[in-house]
Amino acid sequence: MQWAWLIPVFCFAAAPVIVIFGKFLPTKGAFLSILAIAGGFVVFWFVFGSWLDADAATKGCFTSANTGMLSCDYERSWFNAGVIGAVGSVSLHWGILIDPLTIAMLGLVTFVALMVQIYSMAYMMGDPRFGWYFAVHSLFAASMLTLVLADNFLLLYVAWELVGICSYLLIGFWHERPAAREAAKKAFIVTRIGDVGLLVGILLIWRDVGSFSMLDAFEAVRTGAMSEGVATASAILLFLGAMGKSAQVPFHVWLPDAMEGPTPVSALIHAATMVIAGVYLVARAFPLFEAYDAVPLLIVAIVGLTTALMAATIALVSTDLKRILAYSTISHLGLMMLSLGAFGYTAAIFHLMAHGFSKALLFLGAGSVLHSTEFQETGEMGGLRKVMPLTAIVFSIGALSLGGIPVLAGFWSKDEILVAVNDNRNAAFIILTLFTALLSALYMGRAMFLVFFGELKDQNSHVHDAPLAMAIPMALLGVLALGFGFITFNWPGSFNGLGDFVFFGHAEEFHFEVWLGAVSIVLAVAAFMFAYLAYAKRSISMEATRSRFSGVLKVIENKYYFDEVYQWVVDKVVLVFSRAVAFFDRAIVNDIIVNGPADITRKFGIALRLHVTGHVYTYTLAMALGTVGLGIFVWVRSV
């Protein structure tokens, strides 16, 4: 288990090698990247295995007093700020913390990243910056893996930022396109705003606890050494960071634009890296959130629900395939947050994974579509199942899973969330959550039927299905999206369900609220039926509805005007302010405060020189006056 650090290091090592030597290697070094992540995936299984074998007596392992899970912590000194042992010095460490949460995340990240990379081999073939793409991909995966392994907040922040920069590089991969350029910038800066909160939160915790170690912080919360104020404040600040990364309202604006990157990148960002980091952070720092009165969790729940609802409505009216998927991601991230906010720790992680596999699948499928049709608008598609059956099948699996159709992974995880919300939050929450679930099924159905069902357009008749390198990952992910949900059950004798593996406080049994399950099934099925009728069969016309709700629609189609408001703030406030400061610097500080005295001195000199008149009698007069003046000076002083 001590060797878990190898998982990210493989990928870290691959990146510079590809950048520097990529030109001389076959496939421009892409194979190295895949090898590295595959290596990571293999090591993951060893780590998993050794965790299963471990108990509290194993070196570095203990049963966490906070979570109750068996955790293993290994650290190594990074550097010291201040001489070791001196008052006020700070020791910083590389450290890994392995507990079921980490293991779950490791599995998800390594697997999805591996799939996406294999897929990319085919998808990105022929791009001039093929090698660079894989190098950044490696770095991306490595950063994300470090993030989930980190045992202290500092290392987490390091990885957090690296994830951010990698997403910047990948979103802006086709930087020649202005849209990509701007999207990358937007992604980085918006998440960076959240990061301020994260960093301040981390430092606040450190200020109170005196250590960056998460375990120390949690311990302090548990024993009450950390006051309620600090705990609440820092939890909220951490959540700010999570909001940025996980695209929660109002920081969600970057995610839809991030579609400008290559589609496999979107798959990676949406499924296994970047956006789930926020959810992971809240889960990881859960002791802080739920301490005292758990005020932060209420905030998390509200933000999560708002996000889920708002994004779902937008997804419903988007016509761009990737955008639908993007808003769907935002919506589901909101659900995960909501789940966490409703104490549904296990449910959130479960949904995170289920969603991860499904969304990766959807994006890869969408990528396959875009790759061969070169369209992004759903209006240009339709009936594609006839020309690309495999893609159609896997996409449908993903869509159904996220839509919440039973036995698929998404159904089970969503159900867990509903249970958690029902148990811990009031009726308004559960109603809105169910409504979100309905919307979710509706837009998934809409996307699926619009793209793959209905009439095949002539322009798409030449379209072919995905090549092997793209097909295999899709197929593998499809299997997971289908069957992953079953790990939530008790399998007597071998596995007691996810609730027994990842949990907070105490292990949970799988349980199923019948009325809730029934309602959600009904809603989901109804939604898909409706979508089929409306978008595949076209037997229900949407025009009437559209015109009736045109006002609301306009707001939704404009994404609630978030972009416009931000744009206005940037143009009219930030930039104007910056120009004002720059002008102040030049006109006031420089021209008046700096040049002013200089000019005055020079002018003073110019004026003063006139005292030398050129007439010799002035000179003697000055001498005489000077003498008298000296006399007066002496006299005044002596009096």
Partner: protein
């Protein structure tokens, strides 16, 4: 009681210098016009020989001659060597100029030698009348030298202004002497000190007397408000004379002031404390006004005049900081004088060299100099940086030393003001360097550039000026990096007057 002629041999350098000067005048009568340049070399050889003689003969002597009128001590020796050395370099600097632009070349060197004699005596005199005579010997030579370009109206004007203001200041000085004499009945420095120290309440007449003596001397060092002659005289006088005024006459005046203050005023500690503040105020005014007005100058010589007024303010601050407790201030003053003289010598040598080539003397004419005459430009840069007080040049160490001394005597505000004035001076020094290094060669009246009008600009600097520049630059850097040998000599000199 020793006879008046007992130790007469100790004055050998002065006698020899007088003889040398007369010799130069005499030979001048017989030399054909084209060989009069030899006289310069004769003077140089004589001065060098006298430096050696002085060093060998007078090393460590501590005597008082003529019943205490003249001192033969380390202080006098130091300045003697310094003045004669400066004389050598001034002659070297002026040779080309005199050759090309002046008549009566022989007398030029003779007068120069007389003025050096006057300076030597100023550093030696310990009595007011003797000091006055020595001062006039120097001044008269300078009046004539200032008027040396006799067909140049500016030269005439400068000499006229100089002599009128100079004579008035002499009269004031003498009036002060008469007052002091009237009250105390003595004129020797040490007796004055004794008289000042004894009197419980100094009579107003004595106050006036001492004050007027100070005024007379302040004129010589061009302290504000007795400075107005300086810019006009500097501007009008022939270039080498300007250099000499800035270097020699100022140093000699300070040598006299230093000895007078050290032997005549400082020992009367209570009085001195009262006068210190007066001198400090004068110093403050001088450094500020000199540097401020220099900002507005366009003529190089005039600018250097104001610059030298500013520097006089710095040195005056050092005089104000003299005290019985420590030699720091007198060391600082002497160090500053030496460093300032060497630096100014380099600057003037470079400017004279440029003037010899073009006959131009405004700042803008220097444009593009670095392209035609990199060596001159470098020398100028070094000199000006040194004047501005930047390391690794003499200016930095000497300012640091002097200002430390000033601050240490309790005049931190004055030291601060001095440092601030240095900043102002940096601006106008850099304006010169800007022309030299950054601006292009200016267009001439004929439309071409200066180079076409003055092909001499591309010629090499003459060997004599090169010697001056080379040794001056070496001196600047030497004093800037390792001034200890000089400081050792200065400490010995200052012990002679301060103890």
């Amino acid at each position: 009681m020793t006879s008046l002629s007992d130790n007469l041999h100790l004055l050998t350098p002065e006698f020899a210098l007088a003889v040398l000067a007369f010799l130069v005048f005499a030979i001048d009568l017989f030399l054909p016009e084209d060989r009069k340049g030899y006289l310069g070399w004769v003077s140089i050889a004589g001065l060098l020989a006298l430096i050696v003689v002085s060093l060998v003969m007078l090393w460590g002597e501590e005597e008082s001659l003529y019943d205490g009128l003249l001192a033969v001590d380390d202080f006098a020796l130091f300045f003697k060597v310094f003045f004669m050395g400066m004389g050598v370099f001034i002659i070297l600097t002026s040779m080309d100029f005199v050759e090309d632009r002046l008549e009566h070349r022989g007398e030029f060197y003779g007068l120069l030698l007389f003025s050096i004699l006057g300076m030597n005596l100023m550093a030696q005199s310990r009595e007011l009348l003797t000091a006055y005579i020595a001062l006039e010997l120097l001044s008269f030579s300078l009046y004539v030298l200032a008027a040396y370009a006799k067909d140049d109206a500016k030269s005439n004007e400068s000499a006229l202004k100089y002599i009128i203001v100079g004579a008035v200041s002499s009269a004031i000085l003498l009036y002060g002497v008469s007052m002091v004499y009237g009250v105390l009945g003595v004129t020797k420095f040490e007796d004055i000190a004794a008289g000042l120290a004894v009197a419980s309440e100094v009579s107003p007449a004595l106050w006036v007397g001492v004050g007027l003596i100070l005024v007379g001397l302040m004129f010589k060092i061009s302290a504000v408000p007795f400075h107005m002659w300086a810019p006009d005289v500097y501007e009008g006088a022939p270039y080498p004379v300007t250099a000499y005024l800035a270097i020699g006459s100022k140093a000699a005046a300070f040598a006299l002031v230093l000895r007078l203050a050290a032997e005549g005023f400082v020992p009367a500690a209570d009085r001195w404390e009262q006068w210190q503040i007066i001198l400090a105020v004068l110093a403050a005014l001088t450094m500020l006004l000199g540097n401020l007005v220099a900002l507005a100058q366009k003529n190089l010589k005039r600018l250097m005049a104001y610059s030298s007024i500013g520097h006089a303010g710095f040195i005056l601050a050092g005089i104000a900081a003299l005290s019985l407790d420590s030699d720091l201030a007198s060391n600082g003053v002497m160090f500053y004088l030496v460093g300032y003289s060497i630096t100014n010598l380099v600057v003037f040598a470079a400017l004279i060299s440029f003037f010899n080539m073009t006959g131009k003397e405004t700042i803008t004419d220097l444009g593009g100099l670095a392209d035609h005459q990199p060596f001159l430009a470098a020398a100028l840069a070094m000199g000006l940086f040194s004047l501005a007080g930047l390391p690794i040049f003499a200016g930095f160490t000497m300012k640091f030393y002097l200002f430390t001394a000033v601050a240490n005597e309790g005049f931190l505000w004055l030291a601060g003001l001095a440092v601030f004035s240095s900043l102002i001076s940096l601006y106008y020094y850099l304006q010169i360097l800007r022309q030299v290094y950054i601006e292009p060669t200016p267009a001439s009246d004929g439309g071409g550039d200066l180079l076409e009008d003055y092909p001499a600009l591309t010629k090499r600097t003459s060997l004599t000026l090169l010697t001056v520049l080379g040794s001056g630059m070496a001196g600047i850097i030497w004093l800037g990096i390792y001034p200890k040998p000089l400081i050792d000599a200065i400490e010995a000199a200052s012990r002679a007057v301060m103890s």
